[in-house]
Symmetry: C2
Subunit: 134 residues, 2 copies
Amino acid sequence: MSDSLLQKCLARNIRMTSQRGTIIKVIEQSEDHPDVDLLYRRSVELDNTISIATVYRTMKLLEEAGVVERLEFGDGRARYEESGDHHEHLVDVETGEVIEFFDAELEEMKRAIAEKMGYDLVDHRLELFGRKKR
Amino acid sequence: MSDSLLQKCLARNIRMTSQRGTIIKVIEQSEDHPDVDLLYRRSVELDNTISIATVYRTMKLLEEAGVVERLEFGDGRARYEESGDHHEHLVDVETGEVIEFFDAELEEMKRAIAEKMGYDLVDHRLELFGRKKR
DNA sequence: CTAAATGCAAAACCTTTGCCTCAAA
DNA sequence: TTTGAGGCAAAGGTTTTGCATTTAG
């Protein structure tokens, strides 16, 4: 089975502090796609000495370490999720709900398209915005 | 053949002013994906009375009218392009160059995926980030 | 011990807005 | 003439940063 976020950070020699530990725990326990402010508020519940600057600095660190992914849904602030199996996002335009999905054929197609244009795909992002049928 | 951006705006009864005319001309002549500041600087060259607030207001107006598209490449500011044939973007991670492409199969796949999840696709966004092979 | 991390507040960005003036229809 | 648009500057929201202090290793 796969390592916890904390283990991944330790494996990368990220210096561990109580604040980072708290933020990492918050990320691990988040099932949604929180923005920094939400991560901050959840972290403060566990350790009321944490400042939002630390949350920003930690998220940047974790992103650069490749253990979290930064998402943008077009609302002007970054949201985060733990890195893991790659998947895409479908945003329900009426409720704001974010649904994760994965489609192997789609992944391969993206790789092939970049290939055809003479590029190695290093990253990619797909967001679908949909309205629930009824 | 298709209407110019100006014609599309007039057809939608967008009140025309000299500033809007200038900004529209700048968009028409832009072959890249300018952000607001760049649009502003290009507009000022043609009419030095234009303020950046007007550029922001005009881009919002044109976006809501559906005649321009707002793009986000993850650098924290909006970029724009004239609406037209739908296409995707591949960003060269080394040069920042943005290459447009279209793939009908990919489009259909996105629609089908949303469909399968019980959604009507109302919008979608795909960006590939690649490194040129050599 | 020493280098790095934190807190706090200020600053830096990008974007929006209030208000008064000006211009399009 | 009337309603909407523009300019300016201030304010808003998100993210970054300088600096003094604390802490991990």
